[in-house]
């Protein structure tokens, strides 16, 4: 039976979609069968980040409304044989779907896939309720800023109220240089405030911008962010991996000659 994981944050722009794309890709690289569902109806963009925009024929709302079969709406990622995307509808809004319908959809997909990743919209309204309805586990993404952390706190409270079985934290876009100067919260600080278990720390990496623009997730390649996302995937499937040393960004050559 597959596991349904919702990726959520409360605040917008902290990296939910990027995380969904990369965690999905990473899990597919670990030979798990994965489907990504974009639940942000009306503001779809997971397809763009995945580079699959031009292959959308049917979408989530079509499946829910019975205009097509699930199989017809799933887009197969040509790079990975076991990665699929169920895109969102762009011409509708969040009210087109109800939490019960999402729950049913998740149940239908469980038999087929190892992991069902739900990309949640920002906010706490119906879109959020839809996305978390069928989930077994939640990954809460936050950046180390007070605004994002405050919203994450609210989201965790709502998840607890909905009796989410597991809630894990991803600290995204961490800048170690700023943490060192004392200008940014460290991941430990964020964990202390939010009091939930950490599952990954992703450094601020400009490769992410490049990868997003190219529509090619970087999980598993040799960038800091790529490695960080891969570690998160290992932890999701239950392996114990040590945290990256985010300071080891520069090669030894640069360390000696780079910054004096």
């Amino acid at each position: 039976m597959g596991e349904v994981i919702v990726i959520t944050s409360g605040k917008g722009g902290v990296g939910k979609t990027t995380t969904t794309a990369n965690v999905g890709t990473g899990l597919a690289k670990l030979e798990r069968k994965v489907v990504l569902i974009d639940t942000d109806i009306g503001l779809r963009n997971l397809d763009v980040v995945m580079g699959l925009e031009n292959r959308i024929v049917y979408n989530l709302v079509d499946v829910i409304e019975g205009n097509c079969r699930i199989k017809q709406a799933l887009i197969k990622d040509k790079r990975y044989p076991n990665l699929y995307l169920l895109p969102s509808a762009q011409t509708r809004d969040k009210t087109a779907v109800s939490p019960e319908q999402m729950k049913k959809l998740c149940e239908d997909l469980r038999g087929e896939f190892d992991y069902i990743l739900m990309d949640c919209p920002a906010g706490i309204e119906q879109g959020f309720q839809n996305a978390i309805a069928g989930a077994d586990r939640a990954l809460v993404v936050t950046t180390p800023e007070v605004s994002a952390v405050r919203d994450a706190d609210r989201i965790i409270g709502l998840l607890e109220a909905q009796e989410m079985k597991q809630t894990h934290l991803i600290v995204n876009r961490l800048r170690t240089d700023m943490v060192k100067r004392g200008d940014m919260m460290s991941s430990d600080d964020v964990v202390e405030i939010l009091a939930i278990e950490l599952i990954g720390v992703v450094p601020d990496d400009e490769n992410i911008v490049i990868s997003t623009n190219q529509g090619e997730p970087l999980a598993g390649n040799d960038t800091m962010a790529g490695r960080a996302y891969m570690n998160i995937c290992h932890r999701i499937i239950g392996e114990d991996v040590p945290y990256l040393d985010l300071n080891a960004k520069k090669g030894i050559f640069e360390k000696i000659f780079g910054k004096r």
């Binding site: 007070v146 919203d151 706190d153 609210r154 965790i156 409270g157 607890e160 100067r181 004392g182 009091a195």
Partner: protein
């Protein structure tokens, strides 16, 4: 009078101010409309109700009460008449009853309160966990937080001026005791700024531990005081 029926809140309930000039039959309808419209706002709290502005016959009073009960969810505990002396006596009795209830008994609550969560207790409360910024706790009695208090706390919500708020780590945005209110200083948020952005503190965990303030908040001469726990404070606390 522009408005034939005015609802005013006070510490213990509401006062309904009635227009003395209009016919009683009309007034009845106005009362029903007013309470129906405000039913959502008023909620289902137990209240003490009083009529003002117009002399009512006992049966009229009874009838209006019936109309109000039908039109909204309020539970009317008792009716207070216009006589000031008697009213004070009623309030005193109610107050004492509330104080007895809230001071003498407590509730344990285990868990963190996160942003957006609000809890209300009809007794004193002991919280085994943290109250995060954006969360709030209200109690008619005392509030004891065995963790950090970074949100809002409202003790003595029924008007109990002896109520206090205690926290292992006192860094609240706002504290209210009875009718008084105190908020944190404007210069930055103590919880987030000093603790998480202070570099020295981080290098010295002992110092960070010291910066947590175990304090008690109570009312003194119409002001909310925050003080570390000591014998003098204990002597001043009355349950």
């Amino acid at each position: 009078m522009d408005n034939p029926v005015i609802i005013k809140g006070n510490n213990h309930g509401i006062t309904v101010i009635l227009d003395p000039a209009i016919e009683y039959a009309k007034l009845r309808e106005y009362v029903a409309d007013k309470f129906r419209d405000s039913s959502k706002f008023l909620g289902a709290a137990p209240v003490v109700l009083g009529f003002e502005g117009r002399a009512l016959l006992p049966e009229q009073e009874k009838e209006l009460l019936g109309i109000i009960t039908e039109s909204c969810e309020l539970r009317i505990v008792c009716l207070v008449d216009n006589d000031a002396e008697r009213r004070q006596q009623h309030e005193r009795t109610l107050n004492e009853k509330l104080l007895d209830l809230s001071g003498a008994s407590g509730t344990f609550y285990k868990g963190n309160l996160r942003s957006g969560q609000a809890l209300t207790f009809e007794t004193s409360v002991i919280i085994l966990g943290d109250i995060h910024p954006g969360a709030s706790v209200t109690s008619t009695g005392n509030i004891v937080v065995l963790g950090s208090l970074q949100g809002q706390a409202f003790a003595g919500a029924g008007g109990n001026e002896k109520a206090f708020v205690f926290a292992i780590d006192m860094a609240p945005v706002m504290i209210r005791i009875a009718d008084y209110l105190a908020r944190s200083a404007d210069s930055g948020r103590p919880a987030e700024n000093s603790r998480f952005f202070g570099k020295q503190e981080k290098e010295d965990p002992k110092k960070a531990e010291e910066s947590r303030k175990m304090q008690i908040a109570f009312l003194e001469d119409g002001q909310i005081c925050l003080e570390p726990l000591n014998k003098r404070v204990w002597n001043d606390i009355r349950l």
